[in-house]
Symmetry: C2
Subunit: 333 residues, 2 copies
Amino acid sequence: MFSKIKLTHGDGGIHTNELIQDVFVKYYGEGSSNSINDAFVFSVNPQKLAYTTDSFVVRPLFFKGGDIGKLSICGTINDLTTAGATPLYISASFIIEEGFDMESLCDIAKSMGEVCRQTGVKIVTGDTKVVEKGNADGLFINTSGIGIVSPHYSPFRVEPDDEIIITGTIAEHGTAILLDRYELNIETDMVSDCRPLNNLIPLLNEDLIYIKLMKDPTRGGLATILNEISNHAEFNIELDESRIPITQQVRAINEMLGIDPLYLACEGRMVLIVKKGFGDQVIQRLKQTPIYADAQIIGRFTSNTQGMVYMQTEIGGKRIIPALEHQTIPRIC
Amino acid sequence: MFSKIKLTHGDGGIHTNELIQDVFVKYYGEGSSNSINDAFVFSVNPQKLAYTTDSFVVRPLFFKGGDIGKLSICGTINDLTTAGATPLYISASFIIEEGFDMESLCDIAKSMGEVCRQTGVKIVTGDTKVVEKGNADGLFINTSGIGIVSPHYSPFRVEPDDEIIITGTIAEHGTAILLDRYELNIETDMVSDCRPLNNLIPLLNEDLIYIKLMKDPTRGGLATILNEISNHAEFNIELDESRIPITQQVRAINEMLGIDPLYLACEGRMVLIVKKGFGDQVIQRLKQTPIYADAQIIGRFTSNTQGMVYMQTEIGGKRIIPALEHQTIPRIC
């Protein structure tokens, strides 16, 4: 095997096939597709399916707590989870810069395989393109995914007093990328929260009937997705700053950098909009699983219909949390 | 609307939403998804589904007879067609270089919308990422797709004397890209064969039961995919050079350039492996539709089991057609 990616690895010929066999089939694991066919064929019972896609351009490719491979599979699993779906099949498509290090590619494919084994999803179809040196930044991944939607979950209209839950501490992925990106000389053991959330669906199970909407606060962070939701629901959101879970480390690093962690991405958290009166019940259910130990009801919808997000601050004031207009850092996913 | 792509168009905030509304929703047309949800939910009857993905890095983005947008939708439709599937839903994900021209992006989205309207497929989920200037070559597109597999089609084992059909003239896409890439000063009206082939499934209908395998000869051209097929089938293929459809223009341009058109991509042709004795029947059916007027039986499988491809040449010799080891031109799709 070559130690660097060559243009011929993307031309559909002998080298492309070697790459598929020696890297992707090898590391994706059992059940990954190995056929000469361009499309994967499967059957489903008459159920609702969810379908999603995402491209990943994160920089650096390897960060504290993960890499672009892990991120790409988790991202697609989590997008399917937002639809109440158990992920089934994933497609993985690479755009690689000529000269890319083969060992790094193997590490990325291994990370993808690990998440697949951990979650039971299978990478069943894929594609590899190679572009000339200088025409891409190392490697980009696109994943798409298909999942089976739980019969207990059907999103419905948000109303005043519906409760807003976040399943864990915020801004850890964005902060991990910041640390790597700017090579900040800060002693810290913090890592990205990047993880698959597919276990939310079986965990919540029948409690899914009280959940009106799920969304993972990735690009633009908690503030941006709450703005999207309030805007769409046409009711205001009132957050309680003191209840937003955030670690001391993340708080301190962002204070030092002058960055608002409300706008930094999570890659392993979910925002749940829960029917009024059922928030505590959902929190109890979540806390049965250690990775959701920090889940909190962080706010509620009010009857004001501007579709804006307000926050009661810890010092007693109230401020508007606007939608993101200028990004804090590009390419976090 | 900005005239150039900014990094903020990829940050998930206000500008990203504007881009989705003003470009993608606008041009993709009726039925394209416009929801705030990260995943598209749909139901199917208990049928077999096909699932595929491809990334597109073609250079130049606009070529004679198409552009990267048309190519991306056609490519995914045609990959679903190889599985005997009628395409239903498509995902479209963009990686765009900062500073990319907004008008060109609109033209690309328009091309995608046109193929969707023409074929009845819908773009239901998508993603947009923007990378800094110099970190991508203009724009890359990933599409994935889901289709419903015809009950008449189930690929089965190739045997000696099975017949090989190509649905039209070869090498037109690759030649069109060559002309554009090298800005050759050749007077020609030739264009890429880039087109959706979804009508093959209803056209062939019950004749699909005689078809053992379908594959579109894109990257690496006819020679490469026939090598893949013969290798997989473990029977040799014998081609008849005089029956391979190719226009005089394509032949002349490639002779001039010293390039073998057998290795140049088609983006609107299909290779069909047909059960022995049924080739003529399938050809008759194909010729009912003008775009398949040049369909030909170009060869057959022999009982030799090396999995190699031979060609009876027009001057009476016989030569091996090897698998592609060094690409003719990179980034044709």
